[in-house]
């Protein structure tokens, strides 16, 4: 199984076999890290730039650690503080950075499609670390890896994704990935937080938690993105928690061994009960964070291998790191 992409812009362009190749490589890194091997050289000599046009401590740290564990030279750029304030356009910023010859560009941007636009203008491999309400592919991949490790498979599972679907790139990438791997996906949330015609994408949609969680193997909660709200989507946080916040009672509708996931950062008492989030028998939230590093290592490793292959050095998707 090979991974043939030049960039990782989303889950949508990936073939299921590429998803499996990525997860297999990530599994390898997860085990290696647990065994104490925290330094490799798969990215030695390569320059990784993290360009975050939107604040994100967690994702940026995860990409930084992933790069450093594989020996890349990592540089972080807080783009909000820099050139955009001086009136530079996104494309000019991209061209300027491109001239510094990075090999891996990790980009987060508040506008949907901005990372695609940037990828057209640079020579290096681009990883989408979240663009607007479009995609967040490494999040979906780390969720998939977490599910596969907990459930032993990544197909024919019932997965309920709950909460603010409309404003969530995590939900989009996840429903595309889970659909590609032939799972049953349910979206649960108030209709004001559902994207239009989302039911036409092969998912079931409901505004009832009991119904949505019934028989689920995986319950994925989303952050209620208060900063994205124009106001008026839901009447109040407390009514939202009452109807859609995950607690033991609502979780009882899912399978007894169902796992609880959350991409973080959590709003305890808004979308999830604090005790439940900390329940190590149900919650895999901490494992998600751990798998995040492994998945990002795998993605950068495979993209770097393709980058070298296109420069005529190694076979695409070949054994670069093992």
């Amino acid at each position: 199984m090979t991974f043939n992409q030049r960039h990782l812009l989303g889950i949508e362009p990936l073939h299921p076999s590429e998803i499996i190749a990525l997860l297999d490589r990530a599994d390898h890194y997860a085990e290696a890290t647990r065994a104490g091997h925290k330094h490799g050289d798969a990215l030695a000599g390569l320059t990784q730039i993290n360009m975050f046009f939107e604040n994100s401590t967690r994702t940026q740290a995860s990409f930084e650690i992933a790069g450093k564990r594989l020996g890349a030279d990592v540089m972080n750029m807080a783009m909000q503080a820099s050139s955009l304030k001086k009136g530079e356009t996104l494309i000019d910023t991209a061209l300027t950075l491109n001239a510094m010859r990075p090999d891996l560009l990790v980009v987060r941007h508040p506008q949907s499609g901005a990372v695609n636009l940037l990828a057209e203008k640079v020579n290096c491999a681009v990883l989408n670390a979240g663009d607007g309400k479009h995609e967040h592919p490494t999040q979906a991949l780390l969720d998939a890896l977490t599910i596969r490790r907990a459930k032993g498979r990544l197909h024919r599972l019932t997965v309920a994704i709950c909460g603010d679907i409309a404003h969530s790139r995590v939900a989009r990438s996840n429903l595309i990935l889970l659909g590609k791997m032939e799972n049953r996906v349910r979206l649960v949330g108030p209709p004001t937080l559902m994207p239009a015609q989302i039911d036409q994408l092969g998912v079931e949609v409901t505004d009832n938690m009991a119904e949505g969680l019934k028989g689920a193997d995986v319950v994925m909660m989303l952050r209620l993105q208060k900063e994205r709200m124009d106001g008026g989507f839901i009447p109040s946080e407390r009514e939202y928690y009452h109807r859609f916040g995950l607690d033991a009672e609502k979780l009882s509708h899912a399978k007894p061994d169902a796992i609880v996931m959350h991409p973080g950062p959590m709003n305890r008492g808004v979308e999830i009960d604090g005790t439940l989030a900390d329940d190590i028998n149900r919650s895999v939230i901490q494992e998600q964070v751990e798998m995040g590093v492994a998945v990002r290592m795998a993605a950068m490793d495979l993209l770097a291998a393709n980058l070298r292959a296109s420069a005529g050095q190694v076979e695409p998707g070949g054994p670069a790191a093992r």
Partner: protein
Amino acid sequence: MSSILLTNARLIDPVTGADTHGELRIEDGRITDPGPAAQVIDCRGKCLAPGIVDIGVKVGEPGERHKESFRTAGIAAARGGVTTMVCRPDTMPVIDSPEILEHARGRAGHSPVRVRHIAALTRGRAGREMVEIGFLRDAGAVAFSDGTHVVADTKVLSRCLTYARSLGALVIGHPQDPGLSAGACITSGKFASLRGLPGVSPLAERMGLDRDLALVEATGVAYHMDQITTAAALPALIRAKASGLDVTAGTSIHHLTLNVLDVADYRTFFKVMPPLRDEDDRMAVAGALTDGVIDIISSMHTPQDEESKRLPFEEAAPGAVGLETLLPAAMRLVKAGHLTLPELWRALSMNPARRLGLEGGTLDAGAPADLVLFDPDAPFVLDRFTLASKSKNTPFDGARMEGRVLATWVAGTCVYDRAAT
């Protein structure tokens, strides 16, 4: 002026609906009955039709001449078979006073084709105070419109329409509910949801139309809807026409030939206002054109420079150039069987001329010799950098098209001759 006889032509007459072989004579800038002439031009069996009257052309004068001037727009129009550009008031500053209109009219002299002007309906297109409709009409405004800025305050719009009615002035509206469409850059639905872009429901058009039609009924004003683009808006339009209101409707060539999926991976040249619709809506609008429910096709020519388009989709400026591609794009409707050539020319030429009270849109003797000679079947692949417009933001870049303009005459003067270029 010398006389010209155009022989061996396939005459496309929108008035009679005829598509016949024949000849046509020009003298002193007007069409006459055939007869001897100083110059004879063999049309070689190609189509000869009245020049296109394009309502809603944006020219960057005043204020944005780097995007388009009257000269470059006029050259593009001549190359596209457009003999009258009816220009929009959404300039900088807005054409909302007789003095600014006077300035624009002066600049319009640089265009090789005829130019007419729409004035704003409210000052600064801000939707608060009405413009001097009487003075502006005397100064040459053929219609009044705030363009895509919907007059949100219904009381203000009601007074504007009442006042316009008393002067017999034509008002052009943009049917759209401003609240529902705020912040949207694409039509909501499956595609918008996948791309994570803020969408507007196609119902916003119907809601805007319903409000406007209620006011038209109350005031009796002559009203034209600039762009009807959704199936949901059509029943109200059909009812309004049946009840005898003085309403007409237009649509843009882009909404007739493209759909929301053409946006693909955030292609900003496909960002227009209102946004491109689903294929079902496109087919319904094309059908409404066939049925005569929609009267007029416009290019909605909106030049934008590269900087305005090379941005993330939400931030990119809306609009597409269309003067030069209007005819070949419209030929797709003929090839697909929606319209015959004379029917198409009603929507491109006869209906807009009549609605604005302009001469033209006909091949009758005595009419101005505003003519286009074109080959309806000539195939080509469009290269946007060959366009005459200063801005090259066409969604048809790289598209296979059929229909080439061979020559264009305005008042009997040849303003474009493909053989000579």
